[in-house]
């Protein structure tokens, strides 16, 4: 139970960072932290005590019952790829914003009202 709570805390750290930080780069890093927390949570959902990775290896017979659930790992792999894309997108936007405003401070980037 503790590990789940820690994951949840990490998620809250990420959300806190996004809400309170004023620097674009810190916001991007916070959104990354948020994503890692969820990935960790999903991997933990598939874990069971005393089991091994879900890969068959030649000449070492292992029964599938001893393996962890591989599906959450596949999900996490996909979501890591998606997060890579999101981060690249955000970084590109931050770079272009810097070009336009010469700052990373969001309190100074305010041409849109509301």
């Amino acid at each position: 139970m503790t590990v789940y709570l820690l994951c949840f805390t990490l998620l809250l750290v990420g959300i806190y960072g996004i809400i309170t930080k004023r620097d674009l780069v810190r916001i991007i890093i916070s959104s990354g932290i948020m994503g890692y927390a969820v990935n960790l949570l999903i991997v933990l959902f598939g874990y069971k005590n005393g089991s091994i990775y879900a890969i068959f290896i030649k000449d070492t017979p292992v029964s599938p019952q001893m393996m962890v659930d591989p599906l959450p790992q596949a999900l996490v792999l996909t979501s890591i790829v998606i997060e890579l894309g999101t981060t690249a997108m955000l970084v590109a936007l931050a770079v272009r914003l810097f070009e336009k405003y010469q700052t990373f401070d969001i309190t100074k980037i305010r041409r849109l009202s509301g």
Binding site: V38, L93, R110, G114
Partner: protein
């Protein structure tokens, strides 16, 4: 057999465009228009031949609870049709508009990715696959919002991307908890397993998904990103975002999850009704104070989505009918209004309503179609908006909630008020503003005319006899609590 083509055609077009396009965008235009026309034909064919069945397609021959399936029923086929039609008009509008703005094949490649993502979200029958397609759509949307390379556009896009990443994280948490609770990701199987579980599990999952997809549908407490993103994007993209994206990613997914998978739980319907009503009123009041035409339209989208959510939350046959009908109507007239805004922006170089004038003489088609769209959206008979709002209000009275019916009627009056403002100050003001001749091309005009005709034509959908073959199967899909499971597994 035709289902994977809804995803293959636009995706293949997107990548072929990146391969063969040179400096000019001629090939990109031709290819993407061919692709979207074939999507229109496919989706109409799919909807007509459906007859209340559900088509299930097993990807790479894996059977339903294990592999990823595509499943299209009346609701999905109808949504696919809306996406294809709006995408076609949007492309027709884009050709000239984008040449005016910044011509590039990149626009068309991203546009096809946007269509791919939305078609995927609508056609899939697997929760995680749905998430992946949502992300594909959002990537394309972020880049397209920032397409014009102005400072405000990057700002709006950044805000949109941050909001999107928060909502995706919430959705991913929801997917993780769903998998932990049910050990499956196929929607129909989740529905089957959740019936035997503790109702508290469904409440927890539902709450997280409501926050996640509510952010994408821009229901009231989660609406902050919408006005910036939708008003900063190029006009045809605003039409796609406001017209179909928030419906495909937000409303459609909410319907699928909360009605077909969770089985229409009363407490969520209650939440829908309250959030919907708040969205109607607050969105309307915020729209009234705007002078920027596209910003006003964006706030109006929040308000109109409120009607759809309210109708769904009522949970009665009539309420859901009104919601589905308003969904298609809003897709049509909101896209039309954004095209109007785009053509005004091309002609006058501004979006401020106070700086416009003598539109009726300079741009007769824009002026005329915007009049039709304004009348439709404010609910004046005989246009389609009148019927859908009337049905939702009657449904609220029949469901024994006269207060909500009254508030919805008030919202309709507010809508009328701010579109009166648009007509009075924007289109029929006494300003004389010089306009270049022939800035609005044939494609832009025909896109507007097609949608204006559809504004009138879709009000036919409600006539008994036509309703039985178009809207009723969709409502039947939404209202049938166990039908989705049995249709998918073929029992």
């Amino acid at each position: 057999m035709i289902l994977p083509f809804f995803i293959i055609i636009p995706l293949l077009t997107a990548f072929i465009i990146t391969l063969i396009a040179g400096e000019r965008d001629n090939w990109a235009v031709i290819l993407s228009i061919i692709a979207v026309i074939s999507l229109v034909a496919l989706s109409v064919f799919c909807f007509v031949t459906l007859n209340g069945r559900t088509i299930v397609y097993e990807m790479s021959n894996w059977k339903a609870p294990i592999g990823i399936i595509l499943a299209v029923d009346a609701l999905s086929a109808f949504m696919l049709m809306i996406v294809a039609v709006i995408a076609l008009t949007s492309l027709m509008f884009s050709v000239h508009y984008i040449r005016h703005l910044a011509p590039s094949w990149k626009y068309y490649a991203l546009f096809m990715l946007l269509v791919t993502g939305m078609n995927g979200v609508i056609a899939t029958g697997d929760l995680f696959n749905m998430f992946v397609f949502v992300e594909i759509t959002l990537f394309a949307a972020y880049s397209l919002v920032a397409y014009g390379c102005k400072a405000e556009e990057f700002e709006a896009s950044f805000k949109y991307a941050i909001m999107g990443s928060i909502s995706s994280t919430l959705v991913l948490v929801g997917i993780g908890i769903t998998y932990a609770a049910t050990s499956t990701l196929t929607l129909a199987k989740i529905a089957e397993v959740l019936q035997q579980k503790d109702p508290m599990v469904t409440l927890w999952i539902g709450g997280i998904f409501l926050a996640g997809f509510g952010l994408k549908a821009a229901i009231m407490p989660f609406h902050a990103w919408l006005p910036d993103a939708h008003s900063s994007a190029p006009a045809p993209i605003s039409a796609m975002l406001s017209g179909v994206l928030i419906k495909a990613l937000g409303v459609y997914v909410l319907i699928r999850l909360f009605f077909n998978v969770f089985g229409g739980i009363t407490i969520f319907n209650e939440v829908f009704v309250i959030l919907g009503t708040i969205s109607i009123l607050v969105g309307g009041f915020l729209a009234m104070g705007q002078w920027d035409f596209k910003r006003l339209l964006a706030y109006s989208s929040i308000s109109q989505i409120g009607y759809i959510i309210l109708g769904l939350g009522l949970g009665t046959w009539l309420g859901v009918l009104g919601a589905v009908f308003h969904l298609v109507n809003h897709a049509i007239f909101k896209s039309l209004l954004f095209y109007n805004a785009g053509s005004l922006e091309t002609a006058f170089g501004t979006r401020d309503l106070r700086k416009m004038g003598n539109v009726a003489k300079a741009l007769p088609i824009t002026s005329f179609t915007s009049m039709i769209a304004s009348l439709s959206i404010s609910g004046v008979p005989p246009f389609n908006g009148f019927f859908s709002k009337l049905i939702i209000i009657i449904a609220a009275i029949q469901a024994g909630r006269p207060v909500y019916a009254f508030l919805a009627a008030v919202g309709s009056l507010i809508t009328l008020a701010y579109y009166m403002k648009v007509q009075r100050f924007g289109f029929h003001s006494r300003n004389i503003v010089p306009v270049e001749k022939d800035v609005i091309s044939f494609g832009m005009n025909s896109a507007m005319i097609i949608l204006a005709v559809l504004c009138l034509a879709t009000s036919v959908l409600i006539i008994p006899g036509i309703r039985e073959v178009t809207l009723d199967p969709i409502v039947a899909v939404i209202m049938n609590k166990t039908g989705y499971i049995s249709q998918i597994f073929g029992r």
